[in-house]
């Protein structure tokens, strides 16, 4: 092939690529515009235009925060932390076997068990913890228990997915070596697999705990305990100064938990 044809080939290639990019941008723009018209069909634009006035009014009513209200929040805050922590533990306990059943190199059957484990993971992951809480409150009644279970059930998929991915990435010759000593299946897991994946596992657990603290702050909105209960009741009576304080407390909790998880992570994993 001489240089000229090569050059023109390169050029058409670029042009082809450009067409693809502009084409997909155009389609995306059309799609967005279409979605926009459907979405805003029922929007009442007077409310939207009115928003700045409403916003100024809201801020007026929100400040100053009702600082004394904090005395009622301590118990709720403690509940929130419990929901997140116990929920993470529950998720971990369920996720461990699921992860080993889902990982290609540890599952007893790629054809039957693995797809089931993967479906459990997908179902748990696609349903938000607030929806889990909604269902559990309906079944178990309002309270912390529903919150713990909601956080736990949502965490299963997240933890198991990251766990099984790290199990699939392990060094297989160490596994072979332990197998060749005559070790049983569980001994192989204990000696060859767990030590290799432990740092990744710890990281995932801490990461999920941090997320769970965030999520458990709002579970009270559907009655599943914690500080969200107070947020919901203050909103219902339009006690905006209390709402401000609760938001401040939630933000502080989230920031502190982020700080703690970063510290623990660097201590454990280094």
């Amino acid at each position: 092939m001489d240089q000229l044809t090569q050059h023109s080939l390169w050029k058409t290639n670029i042009r082809h690529k450009n067409w693809m990019v502009w084409g997909s941008c155009f389609v995306l723009a059309l799609l967005t515009a279409y979605c926009w018209t459907i979405m805003t069909e029922e929007t009442i634009w007077e409310f939207v235009y009115d928003a700045p006035v409403q916003g100024a009014d809201l801020i007026n009513r929100m400040f100053p925060p009702d600082w004394l209200y904090i005395n009622k929040l301590y118990k709720a805050l403690w509940d929130t932390i419990n929901i997140a922590t116990l929920g993470t533990l529950l998720g971990l306990i369920i996720a461990l076997p699921v992860a080993f059943l889902a990982a290609r190199n540890t599952t007893p059957s790629v054809l039957f068990v693995r797809p089931i484990a993967l479906f459990v993971i997908a179902a748990s992951r696609s349903i938000n913890s607030l929806i889990w809480a909604l269902l559990l409150v309906m079944i178990l009644g309002p309270g912390i228990l529903a919150g713990v279970l909601a956080i736990g059930l949502r965490s299963v998929g997240f933890i198991a997915k990251l766990f099984y991915e790290s199990i699939e990435e392990i060094n297989t010759t160490s596994v072979e070596a332990i197998e060749s000593t005559g070790a049983s299946h569980f001994q192989v897991i204990n000696y060859a697999i767990i030590p290799q994946v432990l740092p990744a596992f710890l990281g995932v657990i801490i990461f999920r705990w941090d997320i769970n603290i965030r999520e458990s702050t709002i579970l009270g909105l559907v009655g599943a305990g914690g500080i969200g209960l107070f947020l919901s009741s203050s909103l219902n009576v339009l006690a905006w100064p209390q709402v401000t304080l609760i938001i401040v407390v939630i933000l502080a909790t989230v920031i502190i938990s982020e700080f703690i998880s970063a510290k623990v992570r660097s201590l454990l994993i280094g």
């Binding site: 995306l28 799609l31 967005t32 979605c35 926009w36 459907i38 979405m39 805003t40 029922e42 929007t43 009442i44 409310f47 939207v48 928003a51 409403q54 916003g55 809201l58 403690w78 509940d79 419990n82 922590t85 116990l86 533990l89 997908a122 179902a123 992951r125 696609s126 349903i127 938000n128 607030l130 929806i131 909604l134 269902l135 309906m138 079944i139 178990l140 009644g141 309270g143 912390i144 228990l145 713990v148 965030r214 999520e215 702050t217 709002i218 909105l221 559907v222 947020l231 909103l235 938001i247 939630i250 933000l251 989230v254 920031i255 982020e258 454990l268």
Partner: protein, 262 residues
């Protein structure tokens, strides 16, 4: 005869190791003790739970089909519009929040904007935006746009701060303007990752759009909430199944597109 004991690498000191275990178990007892369990209520609930489970296995898509269709459509439109708007807006915010190419006041403003977005739950943001803009999909759209800006803006800023200085300097030394240097020196370096993350965010936005309806910000969440309030378990089961299926399709598609791009 020699003594051997397993060495511990994470917490080497025996005293601290034991105290951590003690602390853990004490917490476990106290924490579990703080859960008030109403056994009678749970017993009553079990029946409802089994009803729900059987309804989930026999979902009813038809009775509430118009509501479900409208809810899913609203969730999907909110997802698409908020993701597109979020991506477009995250570009200026991300550039503004990158220390190496921004100026101090803009940097601080953008960082604060992103930090608040990231530490606020979508649902809490939605509560306020519903209060401001009224019930409906528009508040949901704004909520998810705001969350997307926080998510992508931070990652974009970090990518820009981490890029190859030399390439940027090389472009600048040719006398390119600020805008040109971003277009030529930065954009090519971060684009592949940004596209991947955008699809990832599309995923998240759909999942969230199913939730913010609970506080009145439109989407399938509102339909689900009503179905559960009315004890229409078979419709609720149908909605949950739809959510799971759509999330799985989204995940599969975005994984496929990410692979196709890289």
């Amino acid at each position: 005869m020699r003594h051997w004991e397993r060495p511990h690498y994470i917490v080497a000191n025996r005293f601290w190791r034991l105290s951590l275990w003690v602390f853990f178990f004490v917490y476990l007892v106290v924490g579990i003790g703080s859960i008030e369990i109403n056994w009678i209520r749970i017993y009553e609930g079990l029946e409802r739970g089994s009803h729900f489970l059987s309804a989930f296995l026999h979902p009813d898509f038809t009775t509430r089909s118009t509501d479900i269709y409208a809810g899913i459509l609203e969730s999907l439109t909110i997802t698409v519009t908020s993701t597109v708007a979020g991506i477009l807006l995250s570009i200026p915010f991300g550039i503004g929040a990158a220390r190496n190419i921004s100026i101090k006041p803009i940097y601080l403003f953008c960082r604060a904007f992103i930090a608040i977005s990231r530490s606020m739950q979508e649902v809490i943001v939605a509560i306020f935006l519903v209060a401001l803009f009224g019930f409906g999909a528009f508040a949901g759209f704004l909520t998810l746009t705001y969350a997307t800006i926080g998510f992508l803006g931070k990652l974009l800023a970090e990518e820009i701060e981490g890029i190859d200085r030399k390439q940027l300097e090389a472009v600048r030394s040719t006398g390119a303007s600020w805008l040109q240097s971003i277009h030529v020196g930065i954009w090519p370096q971060i684009m592949p990752r940004m596209i991947g993350l955008s699809f990832y965010r599309l995923d998240i936005n759909f999942r969230e759009s199913a939730v913010i309806g609970i506080v009145g910000a439109g989407g399938i969440g509102a339909t689900l909430n009503t179905a559960i309030d009315r004890y229409e378990y078979d419709s609720a089961g149908a909605i949950l199944l739809l959510i799971i299926i759509i999330v799985m399709i989204c995940e599969y598609l975005s994984g496929w597109i990410r692979k196709w791009i890289s």
